[in-house]
């Protein structure tokens, strides 16, 4: 059974329902690449948090970043990618 990147992302983020999460856990047992792909997501998250901490400890840069990034005017409309 091929598990899509989207499915693994939802599993990683805790957003899958119980049945689909069970299928991912089963797939992980029989396909080592599933574990590797999940590990890649975890590593990426670790790196993002490390980046956030570095910015944060250098004079409130994260605050300025969040201010820009979360400003509603910057976001495109619904359905935009």
């Amino acid at each position: 059974m091929k598990l899509s990147d989207t499915t693994l992302m939802l599993f990683h983020d805790g957003e899958l329902d119980a049945e689909r999460a069970r299928r991912v856990r089963a797939g992980r047992l029989v396909d080592p690449s599933v574990g590797a792909r999940l590990e890649a997501l975890a590593e990426l998250g670790d790196a993002v948090r490390a980046w956030a901490l570095r910015r944060d400890t250098r004079g409130g840069e994260l605050g300025r970043f969040c201010s820009r990034a979360l400003r509603r005017d910057d976001a495109p409309g619904r359905g935009d990618r």
Binding site: G59, L70, A75
Partner: protein, 248 residues
């Protein structure tokens, strides 16, 4: 920590508000920069939101114990958000107190179109950003920590027991930082909300004012872009290795 005392010393008078102890108990120190917990399941979230709505309705009718329960249910998460931005327990505690004061004053304006936490999250975030925009706050932090101190602090917080691993993560963080800076703002926002603040898709959708599907798509594409950037850096690094060996 020295920074906390320095920050509190420069502000006079302190912005302590008259929230009684029955509303806002002390928040114990939270672990920082740890991996956010996975989102709880939908059933739990629905039950939590329903309980929040009940408490808000009671609080709107003047039921103070109901408001105290709202505070107790959300103050740790509110503190975590503020602390994640400010890195100061004292500042974060003040922001949380101020946020709950604003919530209390604005209870009548809450109409339930967004979750209580989303409302609180926006208040905490905006108050934190307002504080960080103050020139004095930025100057003092920059003065207090040299570049080496910042790196030492970072390393100790990340993985002090394994320097090689820490260096690798620092390198990764640098690459990720370049890649994040290159992302459009709406991709940066979902990455920060999910990976740094540990928000669920539903919370992100409410905060950004878009659908959960849009959040999922943005997060997917943002991560792919970051992974491609990391991969490109990895290829660049591995191609450089043989040349460096030849030079030696």
């Amino acid at each position: 920590m020295a920074r906390s005392s320095a920050l509190s010393a420069r502000r006079a008078p302190p912005r302590r508000r008259a929230l009684g102890p029955e509303w806002c108990a002390p928040v114990s120190q939270l672990p920082v920069n740890t991996r956010p917990p996975p989102a709880s399941n939908r059933t739990d979230r629905a039950a939590e939101s329903e309980r929040d709505r009940e408490l808000i309705l009671r609080a709107q009718r003047g039921d103070k114990p109901a408001f105290a329960e709202l505070v107790a249910r959300h103050q740790r998460r509110a503190f975590a958000i503020a602390f994640g931005l400010l890195r100061s327990e004292e500042d974060a505690s003040e922001i949380v107190q101020e946020a709950f004061l604003r919530v209390y004053r604005g209870l009548d304006t809450f109409n339930g179109t967004a979750s209580f936490f989303t409302w609180l999250y926006r208040i905490v975030k905006n108050l934190s950003i307002d504080l960080m925009r103050r020139p004095a706050w930025q100057r003092e932090l920059a003065d207090e920590l040299s570049g080496e101190q910042v790196d030492a602090l970072l390393l100790s917080r990340l993985s002090a027991q394994d320097p090689e691993h820490s260096l690798r993560r620092r390198e990764l963080a640098s690459v990720v930082g370049d890649a994040i800076d290159a992302l459009p703002a709406y991709h940066r926002a979902v990455i920060v909300m999910r990976e740094v603040e540990g928000m669920s898709y539903e919370e992100m959708a409410e905060a950004a004012g878009v659908s959960k599907g849009t959040i999922m798509s943005r997060l997917f594409h943002a991560r792919k872009k970051l992974q491609r950037a990391l991969f490109a850096r990895y290829v660049e690094h591995t191609e450089r290795l043989p040349a460096e060996a030849d030079e030696r």
